[in-house]
């Protein structure tokens, strides 16, 4: 696969794709506009007998900001060091209130690199004190070794019993570095060792370390179990690294991955692959049914992808400060053709396959 090296976000490059309207237009055009392929809404109607609607709130996924120490080629957030958007403490307090008042079970922290938010540790500690069952931190690993002030993150995670979920596109250096930047593989290995050292992913330990695998190019993820086995064997044999599970995620055709698909002339084939692997069982379990995504400014979205496409929830109460439980009961979910990424094959959510 040939690939242009991405060193800056689409925003910084002032790429036309930095405009979400442009992305949505591309998604609605082409094979969907000329009627060759059925639209996602039509497929859902056909297989579920009605539109997608929320069921309840299990997972509050909070995006702490788009700032990141990496600039991965396929980042759906368009994150990078040049992005300065960061959640304020005040907005975090609104999130904490929702954790108190609602039945939310899991707080899922993402970014960018969520650890770069200056109030990250405060927020985790406060959420823990609110008794939320599980706190997930989506860590890019390299942040742990990026700067001295982050070296003790593994200890902090362990203390707070945080569930660490980390990206690892492949067990080879070449593939990982091509997608995530040069040197990322070695730094990730170092960070994984540091996590293992405090007990993460180790047999008999209660500290959970899961890896996220997403394909390094224009193809879908294979069987999650088989990939997990392969990663376990290879990372253990070569580096003595242990982890618990592996989530196989499908890349959704938005943001920098959309840019890559178009630039590499893979867009149409990729959309066809998604459409043709539509799985009705996965459609019944898409994550937006029980997840609410909060942006760095506190706005509410059906999922992180809709957040990046700036498609806020279908309600007049669009800010976390206005949250009420009925928002998660039967609210219509906003969809476009990127949603096919969640229903392809075994399905894809932030917790991996859904079937």
């Amino acid at each position: 696969m040939s690939q242009t090296k991405v060193l800056q976000s689409l925003h910084k490059r002032q790429s036309p794709l930095a405009q979400t309207e442009r992305q949505l237009k591309i998604l609605e055009d082409g094979i969907f506009a000329n009627g060759d392929a059925p639209k996602f809404g039509h497929k859902i109607q056909q297989s579920l007998g009605g539109p997608l609607k929320t069921v309840n709130l299990d997972i509050l996924q909070v995006n702490l900001g788009y700032m990141c120490n990496q600039v991965c080629a396929h980042c759906h957030v368009d994150a990078g060091p040049d992005r300065k958007e960061i959640m304020t403490k005040e907005t975090m307090e609104h999130c904490l209130k929702v954790m108190e008042s609602s039945a939310v079970k899991t707080l899922d922290l993402t970014g960018g690199a969520p650890e770069m938010n200056p109030n990250f540790r405060w927020f985790v500690t406060q959420a823990k004190a609110r008794g939320v069952n599980e706190i997930i931190v989506r860590s890019n690993l390299t942040i742990i070794v990026a700067n001295k002030k982050y070296h003790d993150l593994p200890e902090f995670f362990a203390q707070q019993q945080v569930h660490v979920v980390s990206s690892m596109p492949h067990w080879t250096k070449e593939k990982t570095d091509r997608q995530r930047g040069s040197g990322v593989f070695e730094d990730s290995i170092k960070a994984l060792k540091m996590l293992n050292d405090v007990g993460y992913g180790m047999p008999g330990s209660s500290l959970t370390l899961d890896l996220v695998y997403n394909p390094s190019g224009a193809f879908l993820p294979g069987d999650q179990e088989a990939l997990c086995q392969d990663f376990k064997e290879r990372l253990d044999q070569s580096f003595g690294i242990k982890f618990n599970g592996l989530f196989a995620l499908t890349n959704l055709p938005i943001s920098r991955f959309l840019d890559y698909l178009i630039a590499s002339d893979n867009y149409e084939d990729y959309m066809w692959a998604l459409v043709e692997s539509f799985n009705p069982a996965a459609a019944q379990a898409v994550m937006c049914l029980n997840t609410l995504s909060v942006s760095w400014e506190g706005y509410l979205f059906d999922c992180d992808f809709n957040q990046m496409l700036q498609m806020p929830i279908n309600d007049s109460r669009q800010h976390i400060a206005q949250y009420q439980d009925d928002l998660m009961q039967g609210r219509l979910i906003k969809i476009s053709q990127h949603c096919y990424g969640c229903t392809a094959g075994a399905g894809s959510s932030c917790q991996g396959a859904v079937t």
């Binding site: 492949h170 394909p215 993820p221 294979g222 088989a226 392969d230 990663f231 066809w272």
Partner: protein
Amino acid sequence: MSYYDPKDLRKFGRITEWSESLGEKFFDYYNSVFKDGALTPREKSLIALAVAHTEMCPYCIDAYTKDGLERGITKEEMMEAVHVGAAIKSGATLVHGVMMMNKVNKLDS
């Protein structure tokens, strides 16, 4: 019109339309072959890729290259599989040289 159109791969399933029961039997068989068995699906994918090359089938090369990537198979593994196919192909050609030698020996010695 060219003889091979990449888009035709997506229409492969349609062969069933003109002979339903045979088509279905084929796809049943095909799908069973690639299930986990004495060999893993990963091993089978590499065999399929090697055969795709020896058969020089563009559709199969397209399909099993993608299948390999999906399974996390590396490009080095894929190329070695292709070499296995190529070695057997050239070996098969060369071993027929013995036939030629036999014939020469019979006719001209």
